[in-house]
């Protein structure tokens, strides 16, 4: 029996398009007749009873099949109810219209526009509710423009932040965690424990218990559940899904304890250094200042024989000059880098035939984090102490022997932790 209901039930999907098409057509015809009263409209008039009759029959048929399909479960009841009842009302209205069109023509023509509008509304409602049942309630609008999404109350997707400091704690950090670990069971349509975690508003509303109590992790049900022993029945995520990592749990705690706001950014939270480091580790957002725009034109550099690597998210430029037979690096060529001195973060001039004359130029690249001048003829690097962002300096195989030079540079550049000599 079960299998036969299932078999028949699935024809619902096929048949349902008939009442939609027929009743839509007949409703439009009814409106046209009402509005125009033209010759063309008069041609339509005699078709109405038959069309209404077919529409009604197909609507009833689709409803019955739909009922059979719903018997097999798999649909959320609240979502199903709307579809179910609007389909029944639609069938009744269609039947009423059919009856009037055959037996009470006067009344029918008097009220045909009311009937038509009713039919159109019910068709839209039933169809939309049915569509949401199969595709989920975000299907229709999820690729819509922002104003459409806002209008239907969907949460907007945030663009990735330019840097960690600009990241929104909820949207960029917490929401992705919830989405991977929680929302498969706590969504608008599934609602385990009556909790929907798919949007900020529904999350804060909570379920049978209050999910998030701002500023207090001890009474926030979510935090309690994710920190229970893993074998506890109430531990979340349940059913053998991957537990949240220690870092993710700490991030949840930071967020809840800081008020669990939707749009607060990382900077606004005034986090401790420790918390900041944790964030850097747990997210992929850049933590550096943005030095370049994406459409920077570096042609002048490549034309001068430099290899240019545009590091992503505005990190800066990575420049190398490989020594090449018949293509010597000299002071003039190096000067062509100067317009980019605020963008270049890594510079590698290893094994080029350059000497102390280039040092005044190099000393201008104050954003430099890595500098390799190994294998060159440079002997005096005292001027490089201006490079206060320097982290890595390679002077292997250079004639630099004076240790005092290095000491003075190191004293000036606290970030310089890696010297190769």
């Amino acid at each position: 029996m079960d299998s036969i209901t299932q078999f028949l039930g699935r024809f619902h999907i096929l048949i349902l398009h008939l009442p939609i098409g027929i009743l839509m057509l007949v409703a439009i015809s009814m409106l046209l007749i009402k509005i125009q009263r033209t010759k063309f409209a008069n041609h339509l008039k005699p078709t109405l009873p038959f069309l209404l009759f077919s529409g009604t029959i197909s609507a009833v048929f689709a409803s019955v099949l739909g009922y059979l399909l719903s018997l097999n479960g798999g649909y959320t009841e609240s979502a199903l109810d709307l579809h179910f009842w609007s389909a029944i009302v639609l069938s009744i209205i269609a039947a009423l219209a059919t009856f009037l069109s055959y037996k009470k023509k006067n009344i029918f023509h008097k009220f045909s526009h009311v009937l038509a509008v009713l039919l159109l509304i019910l068709l839209t409602l039933t169809g939309h509710a049915g569509g949401n049942l199969t595709h989920g309630d975000t299907y229709l609008f999820e690729h819509g423009p922002d104003f459409v999404k806002k209008a239907v109350g969907m949460e907007l997707e945030l663009a990735p932040p330019k840097s960690l400091d600009e990241a929104q704690f909820y949207g960029h950090i917490i929401k992705p965690i919830l989405r991977t670990s929680c929302v498969s069971c706590h969504s608008k349509s599934k609602r385990e424990g009556d909790l929907d975690m798919s949007t900020y508003a529904s999350l804060m509303k909570g379920g049978t218990k209050l999910a998030i109590q701002p500023n207090d992790i001890t009474t926030s049900e979510i935090y309690k559940r994710i920190t229970l022993p893993h074998d506890n029945k109430k531990f979340m995520p349940t059913e053998g899904k991957k537990p949240l990592s220690d870092e993710q749990i700490k991030l949840m705690a930071i967020w809840i304890n800081s008020g669990a706001q939707q749009e607060t950014t990382v900077t606004e939270l005034n986090l401790s250094t420790e918390e900041h480091i944790l964030l850097e580790k747990a997210t992929h957002f850049s933590t550096h200042k943005v030095l370049i725009s994406e459409n920077i034109d570096v042609t002048p550099l490549t034309n001068n024989g430099f290899y240019v690597n545009i590091l992503p998210s505005g990190y800066g430029l990575d420049i190398t000059h490989y020594p090449k037979v018949g293509n010597k690096l000299n002071k003039d060529i190096l000067e062509s880098l100067l317009p980019f001195k605020n963008q270049i973060v890594w510079l590698k001039l290893s094994r080029n035939k350059i000497d102390n004359r280039v040092i005044p130029i190099l000393a201008e690249f104050t954003e430099l984090k890595k500098l390799s001048i190994d294998g060159t003829e440079i002997t005096d690097i005292t001027a490089l102490k201006n490079l206060t962002n320097l982290e890595f300096l390679n002077i292997y195989n250079t004639p630099i022997t004076n240790e005092n030079q290095l000491i003075s540079i190191k004293d000036n550049n606290p970030k310089l932790t890696h010297i190769v000599k």
């Binding site: 459409n295 190398t320 018949g326």
Partner: protein
Amino acid sequence: MNPIEENYANMTRRSFFSKTALGIGGLALGSLLNPSLLNAATKNSATTGSGIPNNTLPHFVPKAKRVIHLFQNGAPSHVELFDYKPKLRTWHGKQTPSELMNGKKFSTMSSQNNTPILGSIADFSQHGKNGTWISDFMPHTAAIADELCIIKSMHTDHVNHAPAITFFLTGSNLPGRPSTGSWLSYGLGKMTDNLPAFVVLTSLDKQANCGQLFYDYYWGSGFLPSKYQGVKFRGAADPLLYLKDPNGMSREMRRKFLNGVEELNQMNLKDYGDPEIQTRIAQYEMAYQMQVSVPELTDFSDEPQHVLDMYGPNVMKKGSFAYNCLMSRRLIERGTRFVQLMHAGWDQHTNLNTQLKKQCEDTDQPSAALVKDLKQRGLLDDTLVVWGGEFGRTPFLQGNIQDKAHWGRDHHPYAFTTWMAGAGVKPGISYGQTDEFGFNVVENPVHVHDFQATLMHLMGIDHEKFTFKHQGRRFRLTDVHGHVIKDILS
């Protein structure tokens, strides 16, 4: 018939119109989607001097800019070299527990019914700050233990050499996918015009005893344009042939000749749009550049004696592993992005007692010297060195336990060891564990795809986003698998 005439003959009025209409429509659409498409010299091709085909790469700031992959073809025995299992000696001669053997597939070269455990033929001792156990067969590698990130929990899907090597290098066991080096040079472009971005060095097996072949598809470009395939240097005598122009051909004349050929090729490219024509143009140009750059590259006379000594006695012998290790360093110093150094000879089915030590002697010192040399030059900061084979070797014996001279170990895909050193990986650590026989991985398993994902990550690439559409599907190096091993990242 001449293919051009053939093309004309087949071109009917109908196909002409449908083709041109499609072409113009496609062009219009393409330029709508990407306005820079029809600007002959787009900014990106200018920025790299060579053209980064994918301007979204790298996805994030890379830790490694270069890779040297010391590929140990034939599969070194993990239980003799890096995965210290004292229990093997106490169980020596006893049958391998059946719960380990059940359901496992092996190469079928050894008996499945008689699998006595073979105690490690090498002694181990502890090295470095963390007391890492490393075989006494590898004294030089042991001495750099504090530089190494040793992954003891590698495992793979394939049990025979060629499929497993192809799998390790290209992400598929079947030939035809782009190798890791091709993906990287396609994605990141080249850093110099003088030398190829992706170079393959093949070493001579000292004893030539294993008959392992280096198939060209180990460094093939698959469906990527073939200019991204690895350029192989010869494993003996001169690494490259025909560097000198013949008598009477001056450098200027060569230049003029190549310019002329390029013009002809460009005409053809305009007619047919075949990317292989572009490859041909690029390769002529690369060959011309290499006529100058390679003699300088291969001239070791500028290396000080103490550096040569580090690499051991074979360093001046062309085609030796030591020579190639030094060559690798010289290549990456000059702008090569990916060096794949192939070394065969590890396939000890029947000669573990004689061959293993010989292969170690051949490779141990140069591998360690390379890491040390890169470090002293500051290159290890952004260069990744990888050492390892395609799988491990069985903890049990292949052969007769009485016949010590012919002891061997069979192929073992369920656990093996690979080490990395340099850019972006934690130095001086071991990651993952096998059971007490070195048979199965029991902690932090690292599948080959995980390894590849991690390597991509170090180069600044998200392996899930870096794809190439071919025959209707977007392909990745890691197929649909692979997780970055975050725990080993520094």
